[in-house]
Amino acid sequence: MKYIKSIFPLALAIIWTYALHNSWGTLPPLGKLMSPFHGFWVNAEAPESAELTEENLQIPGLEQAVTVVYDEMAIPHVFAQNDHDLYLAQGYLTAKDRLWQMEFQTHFAGGRISEIVGEKGMVSDQFQRRMGAVYGAEKSFEGMKEDPKAAITLQAYSDGVNAYIESLDERHFPLEYKLLNYAPEKWSPIKSALFLKNMSFVLASGTDDLKMTNILRKYGKAVAENLFPNYPFVESPIIPVGTPRDFKPVPIPESPIDFIGLGSAMKTPEKDPNIGSNNWAVAGNKTVSGLPILANDPHLTLSLPSIWYQMQLVAPGVNVYGSTMPGTPNVIVGFNKNVAWGVTNVGSDILDWYQVKFKDASKAEYWHDGKWKKTTQRIETFNIKGKKSFVDTIFFTHHGPVVYLSHEKPFKSNIPVGHALRWIAHEKSQESTTFYKLNRAANYDDYAQALTYYSAPAQNFLFASNQGDIALWVNGKFPLKSYTLGKYLLDGTDPKADWTGYIPQPHNPHAKNPARGFLSSANQSSVDPSYPYYMGWQYAPTERGRRINERLEAMSKITVDSLRGLQNDNFNIRARTLLPLLMAQLTSPKAGVHAQAAGELKRWNLQNSVNSVGATIFENWVLMLQDAIWADEFEADDQAPMSRPSMDRTIKMIQDEPNAPWWDNVKTKNKKERMAEIISGSFTASIDTLVKKHGVMGPEWAWYKHKQTGVRHLIPGMDALSRLNIPIGGGGTIVNATTMKTGPSWRMIVELSKEGKPRAHGVYPGGQSGNPGSAHYDDLIDTWAKGELRSLLYLEKPEDVSGRLRKKIVLSTKK
């Protein structure tokens, strides 16, 4: 008894300490985390002094010394004496600011989140791997290594990241490791490939083939084609109409016979219509300086740490500045002495599904081209935290990985049929070579040559040079398809439905120095229907592209500042067409909030500005209207999800088809609704929801309060590390494309100069440091929200004196 009494406090102390040393569910290891000597307190960083400080760091693997100067935004300007050291330093410095993010994003890409968060990460992990993320990264890495320069680059970058990881002790781990209670692992070059592959997931994995097949099954081909046309009614394509063709098209494959697939439900992400981008370049004859100006703002999910990290990279043969992506070497969007380039996403159809007919439950063979063919298998192991590891077998046909349906439709589990995924992201590729060469490009030819290495995700690569050229290539690897192949699910047994080749790269849509004096892209249709190849039937809504082209057409004597104005343009071009159509149908409400709101809309200046109440009313009305028209016939149904017709098609129907059958709400029996009723009814309903949400009409209805743009931490739900309710205007179909979770993730404007001294401006909604304890964690967000840009410091040599420099670090090799 006495013995137990003396041992009891010890047992209590041990249990207490054990409890505080480990994480429990989402509760972090409190002891480790809160200890002022080990935990988050260690991550607090004092703001740097305004004086230039100097320090020396020793890094294993460097061949010669590297000088790094940081400016007041904490952007490193790196001066190396050879390529190897340049990329080693890039890896090291990026990791120094962004290690957790780099690792987390590549873990996510590779389907390894469950190693960190346990079983709840499995849904996403299994999806990533079954979609072939790791398989694709391995293949793409093979391709990248074939270019010896890219191979050196990737290896040096990896060595740099590892040099940083090895320099860390546990108490200096980035905050998120402490919150989630794990440690960084060694980096490897394939992680860079995984990161680049993940961009295909982000930008080019959307697919509604299944939803289209479900529509085909329910309504037939005539309706499907009528409601989902293959080119918008109103469009301003990226390649100007009438651009002369400088190639002779190759023959187009024959179409397969029509196929009506089985349809059914499967979890694939919907194409997020808000992930898009803008870029444009104006020729010297339209600018005050007489030289081209290039602007770019890629729209992505807004996150902290930001997806971008600014850097200047200098070594013999290269002096490039721009935004890099933590996890991969080189600058992705930027400029050098002579040229500038920017990217937006191409919405072409490079992902198709093939209904597979297996011979039996073993799935060892499948039927194709009149014979049984062998599948291949790939084993994926999931090391789930706190659980036994899970082994998954993925079956591949010659199309690609098969994604089973059985667990989602158990009543069909006896049917050995799934769909095989054919996706450009599974191809061997050399994106790293493209960026390596773009960073060094001196003229149009260098740029065009760099693009020949690029596969996916396809981008509108915009270009401008100080020789006066502007150009745009819709670039990537595009399957050579018969017209509309892959709009619906395809027959996996029919060889005519297979991809048989690619559009020859020199035939990719392109334009150089067009007569109109500018080029632009905003994810709309790449080309007009006269282009000889089929690329896709559905692109981003046309509004941003139309607005940009209309403005650039009208603008002259263009300056950086006038283009900054265009990047922040809040004009609602959709409302210009749609609002008068709707108001004409609206039964005028007599009194009360509905009349008040209608009055507000009539007075609205069509600007989605920060405090606009009209914008809130219009945008909410459009959403409810789309529901009112389409939800009854195209209701989201787990068993057979369907797409909804586009806004372009809907506007056409309001204009020209007041008697279309779709106006009727099929849910109301014995009643046939007409267009005016649906439009007025949706107005009333949308005002009622606004009142419910925000109270009486007034300042609480301000557009930004309704839209709630936020820049959120990469860990879902980490509001304390996020910036929410940012006062900014814009919207999904507005040039200033800021929505709740997405928006311009990097804004850049570069004015080229004959003397090789480009004047560049840029900002992104975040900050250079990934550490929430740093003043540079989110210091650029306010500038971004105000629509301002920072002037970007382009140095020629490390000795350049600038009042903006704060810190100098000399990296030398470790003996």
Partner: protein, 120 residues
């Protein structure tokens, strides 16, 4: 029964615990604090009744003051963010207190354990 400890003796013990705890914190894992306090309580022959309170006060002071000190030396928005995460309504004072409490209880339990092992 031993004589009750004098105030200055208690103060000296707290000082020793805080100083040695700081050194352990700088060089060893976080839980070294507990083991150190247990050893001190054992070696210094602290009565079990006093050991818990002395360990608690020492651990609290060490962690709370260190946290405060770091915050003064490295002013940043991090403590405010963490005080929202926990959630303490963004109160950094509350965060110092929580930090101190965790250090204090760790110190207290282990001192008690150390003392109990000797005077059983």
């Amino acid at each position: 029964m031993r004589k009750p400890l004098s105030f200055s003796y208690k103060l000296a013990i707290v000082l020793i615990m805080v100083v040695m705890g700081a050194i352990a914190g700088i060089y060893l894992p976080w839980f070294a604090l507990g083991i150190l306090f247990a050893v001190l309580a054992y070696v210094l022959r602290l009565p079990a009744g006093n050991a818990f309170v002395l360990g608690l006060i020492s651990g609290f002071l060490l962690w709370a003051i260190s946290a405060f000190w770091i915050d003064m030396q490295h002013p940043s928005s991090l403590p405010g963010r963490m005080a929202n995460l926990f959630p303490l309504g963004g109160s950094v004072l509350g965060l110092y207190a929580l930090t101190g409490l965790l250090g204090g209880l760790t110190g207290g339990f282990w001192s008690w354990a150390g003392a109990k092992l000797r005077f059983n």
